[in-house]
């Protein structure tokens, strides 16, 4: 079965090339081409595809904004003419990054790489790498114009700030451009639990719980009704 995709690209020549490459490969079925992120999101609200070829700089919302607003996690290949986005691509954990204009050979490499990946693995997020993020004792976040290494065990909780997320440690807080939803998908470490629509807490750092409030290192974190049962189930209550 062919991999289904959409092309999000505001430059017609670039989109035509991609469509041609997809047809030539006989591996990819193009379900649509959108000139901007908004139209693509509207389509993606109603239809699912396996893969998105995504331009970054487009009129209106950028490709990264589209990634932030996705409600599921298809495979992503960024297509851009700027190498400087490679850094962000890395952070968003996209599957590949094609610098325009690219050749069929390079396109095919990206497709073969994608088709070698187990479906459902990649996810857009501002935390580094894939499965290793679960296994490693640390992670990197983009904050203060650099990648900052945080030991998972140092993180007390994460707080949503609309399009940003605050990582709170005992000594310092770091704000990164992402959403709590993305963080929730990436932080699959069992010690991190979403306890409220605006908070993910490191349950090993909880000092006490009073009513619907968690106390962590001097901070008070509300517990949402929808999350209370799961929280109680995860605590080692004797």
């Amino acid at each position: 079965m062919k991999t289904t995709c959409i092309i999000v690209e505001d430059i017609q020549i670039a989109a035509d090339f991609l469509r041609k490459f997809c047809e030539k490969s006989e591996l990819i079925e193009v379900k649509g081409h959108f000139l901007n992120a908004e139209d693509a999101l509207q389509f993606l609200d109603e239809s699912k595809v396996d893969l998105i070829f995504l331009d970054i700089e487009m009129p209106g919302a950028s490709g990264f904004e589209l990634l932030d607003r996705l409600t599921y996690t298809p495979r992503i290949v960024l297509t851009t003419s700027k190498t400087e986005y490679a850094f962000d691509a890395f952070q968003y954990n996209v599957n590949d990054y094609l610098k325009k204009p690219f050749t069929y050979k390079r396109f095919l490499e990206a497709i073969q790489k994608i088709q070698g990946i187990t479906p459902g693995q990649p996810a857009p997020a501002a935390v580094i790498p894939t499965s290793t993020a679960t296994d490693m004792e640390f992670l990197f976040i983009k904050a203060e114009d650099k990648l900052i290494k945080l030991k998972k065990d140092d993180i007390l909780f994460l707080e949503s700030m609309r399009d940003y997320v605050k990582f709170v440690t005992a000594g310092k807080s770091y704000v990164t451009y992402s959403t709590l939803k993305n963080m929730e998908e990436k932080l699959t470490d069992p010690n991190f639990l979403k306890v409220h629509r605006s908070y993910i807490v490191n349950i090993t750092k909880i000092e006490d719980i009073r009513g619907n409030t968690i106390y962590v290192h001097g901070s008070q974190i509300p517990v949402g009704k929808a999350h209370k049962d799961e929280l109680v189930g995860r605590l080692n209550i004797l």
Binding site: I11, I13, A14, D16, K20, K82, P101
Partner: protein, 132 residues
């Protein structure tokens, strides 16, 4: 004795021929289409560049030049792509005087590029007609 027409199209020396050969993989019919599309699309994008420059909207100017840069890439203007990238950077960091100078250079380069592609498009049409 007349030479038989070459079966390989040789791109203008101003273009990155090696890259174009790899991009089109000998499909000169598609190259003709792309060059035609370039000539169709560039004037519209360039109008937006001019409008942004006249209104001193540097953010818009940068975005529009970025688009043109991508277009230039598909017809093999690697050098011009680099200049566009420098111009994009200038929109953020340079003084208005330097930007004016760079804009004038970019306009000349764009004009020159357009003429080259017009010629290449004509040559491709002839070549493809001969090799149908």
């Amino acid at each position: 004795m007349q030479n038989a027409p070459s079966s390989k199209f040789v791109f203008n020396g101003s273009l990155n021929a090696a890259f174009l050969d790899e991009l089109f993989e000998g499909d000169t019919t598609y190259a003709e289409t792309v060059f035609e599309d370039f000539l169709r699309d560039l004037p519209g994008y360039w109008k937006r560049v001019e409008a942004a420059y006249q209104s001193r909207n540097l953010h818009e100017l940068r975005t529009c030049v970025h688009t043109c840069k991508t277009l230039f890439g598909y017809v093999g203007f690697t050098d011009l792509q680099e200049f566009c990238q420098q111009f994009e950077d200038s929109c953020v960091s340079q003084s208005p005087e330097k930007l004016t100078m760079d804009y004038n250079i970019l306009s000349l380069k764009k004009e020159n590029a357009q003429h080259i592609i017009e010629n290449e498009y004509s040559r491709l049409k002839v070549f493809n007609a001969e090799h149908e």
